[in-house]
């Protein structure tokens, strides 16, 4: 039982060989024509086709396809959905309907597909009574067309580099986040199982680069709001990295590994804590009483790392206009602003892998799908695959983020840092002590 739907390497390998086959078609044709005209050997073309079909190029193209799939999966699929979830969810919290632009708002679709009697019903809706899903797309298109203003006094070179650093480090989070046993980029297969011994540490490393970009962005704009906003953001992100790292250490004391695959495998087993064994409960670390503190602290730090509301003082639109993003406009603003959601998404995935059993979930029924990598073979896929369970967890965690974020005011920056250093760091040290003592007492 594989349990996952997307086998990234199988898929991308098959896709890559398809792409390469398509590429080689014209050469095959030339080859065939040359053979028909009586030539014995068609010359260098054979070598080119051989090179196209060779394992190295196929592997490289497969990798590029896989990377593109992951990038699109994160930015085009999940980013749009969680933005939509956030906007709809907080609108409901605020007693209103929120964004309403849907398929029915697109004039062309309404006039064409909308005229079909039954099937066209979703397209026939009045302009602003849709699901609102197209609003994020519309915002993206709008930002694409916006003018980019570079302040005259700004340090232009750094001003344009900083968003790239932030965006790249945010995207880099997703290389280490596996979405199921088969949907991953970073790792290798040992004994038929994916392993990635330091995956969580890699995620933390990718998280730790952002303060540099933010600080540079704030400085380079040469604006007072961005300078203060950048300093606040950097101080906050740094301060909350420490408790996160310490709490993950407390988890590592129990789990003994930083491998996301291994962590999830351990959490799939029935609950066991020293002498206590409970068969019906999965071994999620959130059920472990010695890790409750760590769970809460990691949850809070992820909210802070994603700069969400109780800790969104770096943005703080009430006193610092738009924080360190004040001077950015057009797509530069769109990227740095939209990628905050990606950080929240990665944070939610991190929480899920660390404490909530990752992508493990019950298998109800399976159906057979053709294996793209090996023609003619079928393999069983559950109706609700691992990707579904993982996405469900991420969205639920994100809904909790939204719920918290839109029902509390913002914390002041010195209070944020105080909470970070005076509450969370001692708490996380305490949780390391608890974990070490618990394991030391029971297993020695």
């Amino acid at each position: 039982m594989s349990g996952h739907l997307i086998d990234l390497y199988g898929w991308s390998g098959a896709l890559a060989s398809f792409v390469l086959w398509l590429l080689s078609l014209p050469f095959e044709l030339l080859n065939w024509i040359a053979l028909q005209t009586g030539a014995q050997k068609p010359g260098p073309l054979v070598g080119f086709i051989d090179w196209l079909a060779g394992p190295d190029l196929t592997a490289l193209v497969a990798l590029i396809v896989a990377i593109t799939i992951v990038l699109l999966w994160a930015t085009a699929f999940h980013l749009l959905i969680i933005m939509w979830i956030e906007r709809k969810m907080y609108s409901r919290l605020q007693d209103r309907r929120g964004i309403m632009i849907g398929l029915g708002s697109v004039e062309i679709l309404r006039n064409t597909i909308g005229r079909i009697p039954i099937l066209g019903a979703p397209f026939r809706r009045p302009s602003h009574l849709g699901t609102g899903f197209l609003q994020t797309v519309a915002d993206g298109v709008k930002l694409f067309q916006k003018e980019v203003i570079t302040p005259e006094k700004a340090d232009k070179w750094m001003f344009h580099t900083a968003p790239v650093i932030i965006a790249a480090s945010t995207l880099l989070l997703f290389v280490a986040i596996p979405w199921s046993d088969g949907f991953w980029l970073m790792g290798s297969i040992e004994n038929g199982r994916p392993v990635n011994p330091l995956g969580i540490l890699f995620i933390l490393a990718a998280f730790s680069i952002a303060p540099l970009g933010i600080l540079i962005a704030g400085w380079a704009s040469n604006n007072k709001y961005t300078l203060i906003g950048g300093m606040r953001a950097a101080a906050q992100l740094m301060s909350y990295e420490i408790p996160m790292l310490l709490c993950i250490i407390a988890l590592v004391v129990f789990a003994g590994t930083l491998d996301p695959f291994e962590l999830v495998r351990k959490q799939t087993a029935p609950f066991s804590l020293g002498p206590v064994q409970i068969s019906f409960l999965p071994n999620w670390y959130v059920f472990n009483p010695f890790l409750w503190i760590a769970f809460v602290v990691v949850f809070v730090t992820v909210i802070a790392e994603a700069e969400r509301i109780p800790f969104d003082i770096p943005e703080a639109e009430a006193e610092l206009v738009e924080g360190w993003t004040t001077e950015y406009s057009g797509m530069r603003f769109g990227i740095v602003f939209g990628f905050k959601w990606l950080r929240a998404l990665a944070g939610a995935a991190l929480i899920s892998i660390l404490f909530l059993g990752g992508w493990s979930g019950p298998v109800f029924a399976t159906f057979m799908v053709p294996n793209m990598a090996a023609a003619g073979q079928m393999y069983p896929v559950p109706i609700l695959p691992q990707e579904f369970w993982f996405t469900l967890r991420i969205y639920l965690i994100f809904v909790v983020f939204v719920w918290i974020g839109w029902s509390v005011p913002r914390v002041r920056i010195d209070q944020i840092l105080n909470i970070g250093w005076k509450r969370l760091v001692p708490l996380s040290l305490l949780s390391i002590l608890l974990a070490a003592l618990a394991r030391g007492a029971w297993w020695s």
Partner: protein
């Protein structure tokens, strides 16, 4: 067959040396720190080529994440136009 490892090493060390030169030649202090961060990140990549995965990640966490930020905060303590005469606003 080209050795991928060698290519990676050459590219990484080229970036590293270039950014190390930029560290000492760049005019503005913040640019120096940026290039320093680039140098440190590429050093992390070179550690990786030595098969030192943990130390590479620690290099990135500590030296790319923490030290340049420390330097930047330190630079904020200095006057910006360090070679010119002190600039007084108003």
């Amino acid at each position: 067959m080209v050795d991928g490892e060698l290519v990676a090493f050459v590219i990484l060390s080229a970036i590293e040396v270039a950014s190390a030169i930029m560290v000492v030649t760049a005019k503005k202090l913040v640019h120096n720190v940026f290039w320093l961060a680039m140098t440190l990140i590429t050093i992390g990549g070179i550690y990786l080529l030595f098969r030192a995965e943990l130390i590479a990640l620690i290099q990135i966490i500590v030296y790319a994440g923490a030290v340049p930020v420390l330097f930047l905060f330190g630079i904020m303590l200095t006057r910006r136009k360090i070679m010119e005469e002190p600039h007084e606003s108003e």
